[in-house]
Point group: D2
Chain length 139, copies 4
């Protein structure tokens, strides 16, 4: 289950589309999905007892190194959406996630996406991921 509090590899959040996130076509602008996916990662990390704020406070940063998305159906202003975020691969210095965004009312799949994050220090040098994040692996 996406909202199982003991499964640290999968998380579910609800998001309501804000007014300025919809463009003049009346649909969620494609650039805004990436903000939602980042929220999905943030809340998934919070399940481990750490926060991304802690990660940065420790001098590490998780930066996007690649991403891809398929836009299947539009999301509209004020709609409630459900985002499922899954850790699909964990390396020494990278994490891959997959995303499924659905309309809450009827479960319609709106978008699927994948991202790869790299763990770097302030100077941008690749660093081994802290254990607090890598424990996703053992979940």
């Amino acid at each position: 289950m996406a909202d199982d509090p003991n499964n640290m590899k999968v998380g579910e959040i609800a998001i309501r589309v804000r007014y300025p996130e919809a463009d003049q076509m009346g649909v969620l602008h494609h650039s805004k999905y990436w903000v939602y996916f980042e929220m999905g990662r943030t809340e998934l990390l919070r399940k481990t007892g750490w926060t991304y704020r802690d990660v940065e406070a420790s001098g590490l940063y998780l930066v996007l190194s690649k991403c891809a998305c398929r836009y299947i159906a539009p999301a509209y202003y004020d709609e409630e959406l459900i985002l499922i975020t899954t850790v699909t691969r964990m390396g020494a210095a990278r994490i891959d996630h997959a995303y499924e965004l659905r309309r809450k009312s009827d479960g319609t799949l709106l978008t699927t996406a994948e991202t790869t994050l790299a763990c770097v220090d302030r100077a941008g040098t690749v660093q081994v991921m802290p254990d607090s994040i890598r424990k996703f692996n053992d979940a």
Copy 2:
């Protein structure tokens, strides 16, 4: 040449990173690149003598159906960037673009990306692209 006014398949624009586009890492947030790529497409279309505003006024919309991006090096607040946008494939109802974003001062490649747009009407039904856009093809 990217800025050849007669080549309607390739366009070049300059963009300066705005303050709120940089996040607390001090770098251009990954979601903002998609806004820049859209600006690249907009200005490339303008070369044909049409604008995307005209496209929408005619009842058609070019919507993102898929996208992918590689983030190679960060962009910083107030930096001037050069974006090269290229039409890589033109179908009856779709256009593919490729993007190269570089730092203006030293030419460093920051990001490469690809997108596929579908041509739809207000109801979201796929439509044949207007000739005004398809003439990219013959350029």
Copy 3:
């Protein structure tokens, strides 16, 4: 009480600061507060049984005609904030709101603001507000 479901003149929402809403100073960018205030109005309206989406579907729009804000203390990434939105004046074709944004953890007042909205039709002509909104008045 701000969260009294029967008081349609005052509403309270919780908001968590998103990563790209903080700028490179590490604080919520001043432009983003207006998005939060709009969310406060949206949720306050929802208490009346109507939504702003319904308002627009009926052909009316509530557009900002003026606004003012005082920034007292910064909000940081990932902080939980409490926004209290109050209807302070209701005219035939305008609504005034006041806002108080506080840090949830310690109640620190971060920002106060005021806005005036005008009710217009698609063409921008001022219109009398629908009763569904004006009933805030009798709450």
Copy 4:
């Protein structure tokens, strides 16, 4: 003249409204004007030979302490706008600006605004403004 390179108290910039800056009413969202006004301040500062990036590199920050805006007429997607930014008052640790935003094609006044910035250090303590900025005063 707003674009007199020797008058460091007044600056003029041109801005084209980007697609995701317009909301589903088809007009520039009210929150985006503040991003434009900040661009106006940034370019005005650049006239003095300094940049805001330099200011931050020196450990100082100019933060918004209050603002007000009147929205007179809407701006639309892809329109070219002209923003005139003026320093109206310079104190030891604050700067006030006024803004006029006009449609380029016909000069229509869209918005007027005022802001007060405070000069602070990283910890948020008020600091005397650097001379490089205060020389606006003598312009």
